[in-house]
């Protein structure tokens, strides 16, 4: 059990740790400031979910893992996530990165794909202008905590006009609940570039039995005309609290596509936001989730439109079993001046047990007249007529319900254009639904 309340969220220990890791002075200073902030500001307050009742203090202690010399050293459930034949792979274990590789081809094109700690040392000119700019570290205790504690992490930089065809893949896993596990992912896609990044955030469930927190931040910068596809699947152990903020800032004619699979066993705060800063910028978000046991989740998607003719689409679909509960928020905000913007969102919840709870809260906040926007939300049980129809063809009740549940998620899953994400999501979904 790791429930220490202070370490390393006080200025002194945060700075000492940062220096010990050889971080540049600017980062040491940031760590110190963030640690102090973390002690003073409040946790985020998502709608109708009281996260302060979760164990948010089990941040653990820094534990630098030894580098892996071969992928076969990794736990089986991590190995199976590695996309076959991939040359672009980064793996984080607990507090540090243990594996990274990038093809020569991409290196030669100037693509950077490395852990964020290394990037802060070797590419600070590229990192500094972006780190904690999409997410400010003083927003709340979570952002400050991540700023003070983050370790390992990912930095992706794709230069102008470079197209990365195959997905860059990262796997973050923990196998020790008392080790700090707080990645920060920073992705910068320069003008007219294209990149697909996919990650899996998982626990080695045979080893993790204590409580832990996974405070994670993702920042994505989409420069003019760039396209970023970001796929992420989370499957952390039951003792974990996953708090992940994702944010993209999209410039003129840029596009971000988020695919999020929230399949943790434990409490989850997932907040994915696209800020359409530029004219003609677009965003597409798909979130899939399955809640089981007494899990509580707050799943939020946000689109903020500043750019004229910007466009956003957000879809969340969740299946809730047992006594799980999910509050699902979709917030489309169209700022004054964002003429011809279009924002649509859908939240759907399928409840498999009378004790499960699912709330869908679609919110449109519109400060401009010349726009289009729409939302749809539904919360419902499995339709008994459908079950009857399938059973009337000889299919057992259990299989009928399984088909209907898959059918509920399939229209979103099947639209996922990145095959690696689709397959991983499918596999982890299967496992969680059967569980």
């Amino acid at each position: 059990m790791s429930t220490q309340l202070t370490t390393p969220t006080d200025r002194g220990s945060a700075e000492t740790l940062a220096r010990g890791k050889g971080e540049p002075e600017w980062l040491v200073a940031l760590r110190g400031e963030a640690a102090e902030l973390a002690g003073t500001i409040a946790w985020p307050k998502p709608e109708k979910v009281r996260i302060e009742r979760w164990n948010l203090t089990a941040v653990g202690a820094y534990e630098k893992p030894a580098a892996a010399s071969a992928l076969t050293e990794l736990p089986a459930n991590v190995q199976e996530l590695v996309a076959e034949g991939t040359e672009n792979l980064l793996i984080q274990r607990n507090s540090g990165v243990v594996w990274q590789q990038l093809s020569d081809e991409l290196k030669n094109k100037g693509v950077i794909f490395t852990d964020l700690e290394t990037a802060c040392r070797e590419h600070s000119d590229l990192v500094k202008p972006y780190l904690f700019q999409a997410v400010k570290m003083d927003e709340d205790k979570l952002t400050a905590l991540n700023a003070a504690l983050w370790n390992g992490g990912v930095f992706v930089y794709v230069p102008k006009n470079v197209e990365v065809e195959l997905p860059l893949q990262a796997i973050m896993y923990n196998d020790n609940a008392s080790a700090t596990f707080a990645p920060h992912i920073l992705l910068v896609a320069d003008t007219n570039s294209r990149v697909t990044y996919v990650d899996c955030v998982v626990s080695d469930k045979s080893k993790v039995d204590g409580e832990f927190v996974h405070p994670s931040i993702v920042e994505v910068f989409v420069k003019p005309g760039a396209l970023v596809r970001y796929g992420t699947v989370h499957s952390l152990a039951q003792g974990g609290v996953d708090m992940t903020l994702r944010r993209a800032v999209v410039e003129n004619d840029g596009r971000v596509e988020w695919i999020v699979g929230d399949l943790n066993e434990g409490h989850t705060l997932s907040d994915t936001k696209s800020v359409m800063q530029g004219q003609g910028s677009t965003s597409d978000v798909k979130v899939i989730s399955v809640g089981t046991n007494a899990q509580q989740m707050s799943l939020t998607t946000r689109a903020v439109h500043f750019g004229k003719s910007s466009d956003s689409n957000m879809i969340t679909r969740a299946v809730m079993k047992d006594t799980a509960s999910a509050i699902i928020n979709g917030i489309t905000k169209i700022e004054h001046g964002a003429t011809k913007a279009n924002g649509v969102q859908t939240e759907r919840v399928l409840m498999l047990s009378p004790k499960a709870r699912g709330d869908a809260n679609p919110i449109l906040l519109i400060d401009e007249d010349d726009v289009t926007a729409g939302h749809a939300a539904s919360v419902g049980q499995v339709n008994p007529e459908q079950v009857y129809y399938l059973m009337a063809r000889g299919i057992s009740r259990q299989d009928a319900e399984r088909l209907i549940i898959h059918g509920f998620l399939a229209p979103v899953v099947s639209e996922i254009s990145v095959e690696a994400v689709r397959n991983q999501l499918q596999r982890l979904l299967e496992r969680k639904l059967e569980g």
Binding site: N383, P384, E385, Q386, Y388, Y389, L390, M391, A392, R393, G394, I395, S396, R397, D399, A400, L403, I404, H406, G407, F408, L409, A410, P411
Partner: protein, 259 residues
């Protein structure tokens, strides 16, 4: 053993209201029975009660297929025992492709580990779809979602053909079908006629029975079979309507609302 389906004194209610008031019917392998009757007289209720729709409660009587008590079984067991119901209003199931559904239904009849091979399944499905002149894209569409009325009916027949049941109940399979589709569906049914299989065809119109000649025709009113005869009975109903039957039997209101 030759197929033998017996309904004896079947009573059923929905939301506390008795609809079926004692149905007796016997269907042997090779026979085709037609049930006709005005709207709201309990025809679909009979079909649903036999299949085990959760809203209907059987309050009396029995239904056996080859000596097995169907009413004791869950809906899926009844289906696997050999009962097939082509529904008047088939459900739409978003996200489940027709072919995934059909394969699940076939595999539900097979031992675990002995599932139908994908190739064999596709060959069978495509063969039957061709017979029914269905566009192959219907295999990949979500089950009944957005299907037109006639397309749904054709899809019901496709299921019947692939599942090889012993007793087939067709509830208004002809409604919503255009003239060509009617012929195609009727051909599908006729191709399935065999000594091992019995049919119960619920319909309002003679036009289906022009293609599929029944051995027996029954008229349902007030939740009962009030008259039975041969194919000529259907012909007379088509020509003259139901008034003469009502008159003959002294029925004023044929719907089940009346005692």
């Amino acid at each position: 053993m030759a197929t033998h389906f017996v309904i004896d004194g079947l009573k059923a209610e929905i939301e506390g209201k008795e609809i079926l008031k004692g149905i007796n019917l016997e269907i042997k392998g090779g026979e085709i029975h037609a049930i006709m009757g005005p709207n709201g007289t309990g025809k679909s209720t009979l079909a649903s009660a036999l299949m085990g729709h959760p809203k209907y409660e059987v309050t009396g009587g029995s239904a056996t297929l080859d000596g097995e008590d169907l009413l004791e079984m869950e809906t899926d067991e009844r289906a696997r025992a050999g009962l097939f119901l082509a529904m008047q209003y088939p459900s739409e199931i978003p996200g489940v492709t027709n072919s995934d559904f059909l394969r699940s239904a076939i595999n539900a009849r097979r031992e675990e580990g002995n599932e139908i091979s994908l190739i064999k399944f596709i060959r069978q499905m495509e063969g039957k779809m061709k017979e029914l002149e269905m566009n192959p894209e219907f295999a990949h569409r979500y089950l009944n979602e957005g299907f037109s009325g006639g397309e749904k009916k054709r899809n019901e027949i496709l299921q019947m053909m692939l599942l090889d049941p012993k007793i087939v109940v067709l509830d208004e399979i002809d409604s919503g079908l255009d003239i060509d589709a009617l012929r195609i569906v009727a051909n599908g049914v006729n191709a399935m006629r065999s000594e091992e299989r019995g049919f119960l065809i619920i319909t309002h119109y003679q036009r289906l029975l022009n293609y599929i000649t029944p051995d027996f025709v029954h008229v349902m009113m007030q939740g009962r079979i009030v008259k039975s005869g041969g194919p000529e009975l259907a012909q007379r109903l088509e020509n003259e309507g139901y008034d003469w039957v009502k008159e003959e039997l002294g029925i004023v209101d044929e719907t089940v609302g009346q005692a």
